[in-house]
Symmetry: C2
Subunit: 579 residues, 2 copies
């Protein structure tokens, strides 16, 4: 791929450009209904500006698609709805999971394609997984998408690295999230992280966006913020030929795309109605960018697309206080900190392994009690003692145990468990309109019993109820704990018999959702007959993920996203590609 001549002169937003031969033909469109066909041009065939490729969204998926397309010689623009660039990526650690990556190959870590496919198939469809089935029990679509990840993630990230758009370092020690499964033949080695990320890697997303966006500007890709894309404009033949957006002055702008419109706008984490009507349980927001409001679901509604994988999300526990406040700075709780720490529910009962991998832990909040008609675990209370406060506090990775001087409004503190219970119930009362949760009358005695049982497990290092700390991923995310000689389990330590005690409310959230219009493995958005809608592409969390409910490993969002960005750009670049 050779970059086209760099063009930094952005066309004036108000310069009207007559559509070319491939543009908009006049039809009797004035008679077309506003409700259903407004996406077909209802105005004279004019655009305010035109590009080859219009990319909506400036997170990882958008910027990498823009760069890959630019390097194919296209004139590309990136439209970002928010006032600043980077979307959810800004908030990520930006691990990216790349099977059979260059660093693995150099280190002679084998990661053959059939093994990779077995691992992802086993996790994404455990009920149909069959190692002897030609597609391992996956559907044809899912299999094709997983193959595409394996085939294209590594070439894509190498191209980004070789051009200085996204350089990386290999995080050889990080295990996959189900590293212990026999299907995982390369349990470590697939994870990369931006080269300049801090040792903790928590700032990886900001680093990546900085490097990608600098490269985009250097290579002549304008990135416009404050551009709210509202609809896809189509030719009479139904090809996507541009978008209509509202800019930050409130003006409507029509932007033509000679070759392709690419949506990379994120999921629907911040649309409560879509969450309620699609996700497989009651989610209280999440840590996706606040601009992730399901824009592509709405823009695609009149296009005859197929929504897929709408029931699942990339999940993470979150601070209930922060989620309900729509705190844009909130991080998902990737790491549940503390050893002398446990979770209980409104009944004071411990009902979960607190160190379960975050995607899996979040799902446990949805447990439904069909006799009481309630979600008993919808809000859990994390409780810890002074020891964990002193040794496990951190401002990174969404931890609830935070150091002095940081925002701790979500933390409750009391001298005794009794006082703590009172404070917890007061805080719950504040949120009851959203959760329906208050403490049960027997919370306190049950809590005392739960602590006693937990402390017994902690003394032996063996959690007989939930197996806390038994798996590699649980130790990976354990965070700092006080060093103890000869301890058997770094995730467990008895909770002190004396206060002070601390508490915070936890609920299920999303990093972002993973459902949306179905694309093929070239990122082409498909219609109800599984045919590509010419000129329309989708990449990232705004389109359907083939992963089902699975979170294969750290970076299983971003690695595949880069693979599909690369494949979409290649497809747009083909003679027959695009509109």
């Amino acid at each position: 791929m050779t970059p086209g001549k760099t063009s930094t002169a952005a066309a004036s937003r108000r310069r009207f450009i007559q559509a070319g031969a491939g543009g908009v033909a006049a039809i009797g469109a004035a008679a077309l209904p506003a409700t259903a066909s407004a996406q077909v041009q209802a105005q004279p065939p004019t655009f305010d500006e035109q590009h080859d490729v219009v990319v909506c969204g400036s997170g990882c998926a958008g910027l990498t698609t823009a760069l890959f397309s630019r390097w194919q010689g296209n004139r590309v623009v990136v439209l970002e709805k928010a006032g600043s660039i980077g979307g959810t990526t800004n908030k990520a650690a930006f691990w990216y999971w790349v099977p059979n990556n260059e660093a693995m190959r150099k280190a002679r870590i084998a990661d053959p394609k059939p093994d990779f496919l077995r691992y992802v198939a086993r996790l994404s469809s455990p009920q149909t997984y069959d190692p002897n089935h030609p597609r391992l029990g996956l559907g044809a679509w899912e299999y094709e998408m997983c193959e595409a990840i394996y085939d294209s993630a590594s070439p894509a990230v190498e191209l980004l690295a070789s051009r200085g758009a996204l350089t990386y370092r290999h995080v050889a020690g990080v295990p996959d999230y189900f590293a212990e499964l026999p299907e995982d033949k390369a349990p470590k080695g697939r994870v990369l992280v931006p080269a300049q990320a801090a040792p903790s890697m928590a700032d990886g997303g900001r680093v990546a966006i900085g490097q990608l966006s600098a490269k985009a500007r250097q290579d002549g890709v304008p990135i416009r913020t404050g551009m709210r894309v509202q609809r896809v404009l189509r030719s009479p033949e139904g090809h996507a030929i541009g978008v209509e957006a509202v800019d930050d002055t409130g003006a409507t702008v029509r932007i033509g795309a000679r070759k392709a419109v690419v949506f990379a706008t994120g999921g629907f984490t911040h649309d409560p109605e879509l969450r309620k009507h699609f996700l497989n349980g009651p989610v209280f927001g999440g840590c996706a960018a606040l601009s992730n409001e399901g824009d592509f679901i709405r823009a695609a509604a009149p296009l005859g697309v197929q929504l897929r994988n709408m029931n699942y999300a990339w999940m993470c526990p979150v601070s209930l206080d922060k989620a309900l406040a729509r705190d844009g700075s909130m991080s998902g709780m990737f790491s549940v900190a503390g050893d002398s720490m446990l979770f209980v529910n409104k009944y004071g009962r411990r009902t979960v392994n607190e160190k379960l991998q975050y995607n899996e832990l979040a799902q446990t909040f949805f447990h439904w009690d069909g006799a009481r008609a309630e979600y008993p675990d919808l809000v859990r209370i994390s409780i810890w003692d002074q020891r964990s406060q002193d040794h496990s506090a951190s401002a990174e990775y969404g931890r609830l145990i935070v150091p002095p001087g940081t925002d701790d409004r979500h933390v409750l503190k009391a001298a005794s468990l009794q006082e703590l219970a009172r404070a917890i119930d007061e805080r719950l009362a504040r949120h009851a309109g959203a959760t329906g949760v208050r403490l049960a009358p027997d919370f306190l005695p049950n809590l005392r019993a739960a602590i006693e049982r937990f402390n017994g497990f902690a003394r032996t290092g063996k959690d007989l109820d939930f197996g806390r700390g038994d798996r590699a991923v649980e130790q990976l995310f354990n965070g700092d704990v006080k060093q103890e000689p000869n301890r058997r389990n770094p995730t467990l330590w008895p909770i002190s018999a004396r206060g002070p005690y601390y508490a915070a409310l936890v609920a299920a959230g999303t990093l972002d959702t993973k459902g949306g219009p179905k694309t093929d493995s070239h990122g082409r958005v498909l219609d109800t007959a599984d045919k590509p809608i010419a000129g329309l592409y989708g990449v990232g969390n705004c389109v359907a993920s083939a992963s089902g409910r699975a979170y294969w490993a750290g970076g299983a969002t971003l690695g595949p996203m880069i693979a599909f960005a690369y494949r979409a750009a290649l497809d747009i670049g083909k003679p027959q590609g695009g509109a």
Copy 2:
């Protein structure tokens, strides 16, 4: 409402009728894209036949909408995809849940609207329920829909009864499914059943379809079978003006609707792809009519509708063998028969109250183990002894314990538990490609321990683990059990220490799904701006239910359905209604 002049002369399917003034205007439609806008007329404005109202689907929702519309003076046709009429309704017991019904009023059973709304709000959105909130914590749409049910169910069923279309008897003794909740101020009395249904009521659906369809024919509503409706035809203004169907000869037929097209085509129980990508857990089919394949989801895709409540279904446990065989005669397991009977999972562990109300019981099969990455309860094994076989067998309500001479291919029998385990694992092996489930190595010792613990509970009558039999609804559906003097709990009896033993495989299924395009409370299908699509209506399981995950009571499907059929017909009949 006065019936129009009866017309039994169905227009010839091949007679071409020129669209009238309100019909199809010619536009340059040949240029419109097949992928996205085929629903806008791409052919000359001709129909093979025309009616005022075209109803798709001949179950309860379709037939009642057709009758109500006919009684408004309209010419109505019903198009049924299957070879016979009645859809899923045929298989229902046809309880219909009608708040504040005439029989209650006569019996002076108070059922005021505010109390009704509190009960449904409490169940449909427990996390936001608030008795002091103006909408009780429901969304505006959900509240409006629930009000409509209360307001219109009773007038609708009285009209059907008074015209002899659907006569009923009051089933005064049946409790709501959460009758013990303080919000339920009318725990009994809301359930009606067709007057001529058998004492067991299991044949209510066939009785209802017989009476409704006879009335439809008598009143001049032709019902056409073998008519597969594939798309909605629209005017240039976007109004629904007819449908395109394929008849049983394979010919394409275009049927005009001067006033309204009504979809009443059922849910997507038998579309495995839609189930996988929308429902909140892995469902193995269900007992909806086999023709319930999500037709309206597909037909509506190009219309710019909003899919809602896609994550939930009217659920029921089913026989795994029958579900995987797509046995069209299968009934949901409304009643889990037997007292000396228990369920265990692949590990031999008892993990559920077997007598939970069916919708709630089915949900428990979706429990996800995020450490093992599996659904441990995806298939459960019902195990019973000779005593339950002798005293609890029944061919009704989907029970697994069936009498001699009936289809018992789903039943495994063995002299000992050890032999039974072998037979269970053989049967599981047959289905492993769909379920991934085989017995764990320690199944047998765990099963013996589970039985011992269960038998202890049975002797005291108190299930300390899961509270089996504690609630009214659990006793309602207990079925026949051997009479025992002084027993405390009719749902529990020790399992015999001696064989033979019996077993059958159980999984989660649906009666039908409850998601689809959003309508307003007049049955009008809404576009993405919440504006009605002129002339397009939806009633029943093909459109979004406002019930969320809740199954309020027996008949909570059919009662509301009749209310919305009535409201849709009234709206179509309005001067400004319809297309």
